[in-house]
Amino acid sequence: MDQAGIITIISVALIALGLLFFLGAAIGLFRFPDFYARMHAAGKGDTLSSLLVVLGFAVYQLHDFDFTFSTLEFNLQSWKAWMFHGDGLIILIVLKLIAICAFIMITSPTCTHALMDAGWEDGIEPELKEKGANALAKDIDG
């Protein structure tokens, strides 16, 4: 199998896995019992699946990439040609997509956390096995 085929398979696998997690997050959002459990599903599923999908895009960009670096020689001119007119442009796109990954990884969990905290301060009760004032503490202990 040639390079483009392998790269396509890897990227499609990553994107499909990401979509699977998206499905899990969506089902969790509808089926979990209370606000906190739902946010947990949305936060975790969303983060991982967006990461996987964007990573799949990044891998897909490499389908024309020359992994042998055959055009690259040890002089400034060939480096410039590689960077500004050749495969360097692909690397640029891949780096941008990886940067998006990094930002999703930082912001998405924080966003979920801030929403949950707002819910807790607003007095949304988590659904617990045992009702009552100290039910959460008991649930954590036992």
Binding site: F103, I106, T107, T110, H113, A114, D117, E121
Partner: protein
Amino acid sequence: MAMKWLALVAVVFTGALLIYGVSDFPDWGSADSPANGGIEGAGRSVSQTFIQETKPLTHVPNMVTAVLADYRGYDTMFETVVVFAAGMAIFAVLRVLKTVDGQHSRVIRDRSVDGDHQRIIVGTTCKILIPVIQMFALYVVAHGHHSPGGGFQGGVILGASFILLGLSDGMETAMERLSEGKFVAMAAIGVLIYAGIGLLSQFVGRDFLDYGALQPLLGTPDEGWARSHAMLGVEVGVTFTVTAIMFAIYVNLASKGELKGGL
């Protein structure tokens, strides 16, 4: 009541004028309209002219941005003025100038006990992200005359970074960075930069907003580069106004016009 009737008459009159103007339009989808087929004798249509001449005349690879900032510079200038006027309207409606000291309409939430963990996580994330967001905003502005992006988008991103600081660390912290005097001045300076670049080309002896006239001032090899650079200049002006007005709207809404306490 009389004012309402007067307003109705004005609206109906303006509407009638617009509808009357529509009758002079070329037919819908007409191949002979100036936009599609060109004026008789002139040869090319308007869109063909832009497609063929934008790059050689302005050195801007993206013709949409060239049309936005150069060919219809008037329109974009008054869009900036509209943003400025919207900010001033928000100011006029919401801003409370006389307040009793120590009496805020909104109580500042006591974050000492329960809020600390929230403050650490959200605060740290914002501390990491705000510089990156501002860098990205400047990148969008710097590409305004060259590719999709520009003053409006970059200004909104830059304004959002200040709003994020206000949301995560308290409005007063953000106000320390961008006080009321500063953002009102910034909004006005933005419009002034745009109109000033337009006026500058008028002083040289050409039309208002005809950036090509700035070639001797900017020292560029030809008029196209002068137009390209002047476009960046007006985008910077737009950024000033949009950033300031975004933040002004946020602080006025968040503190009910008192600019104290806040969310």
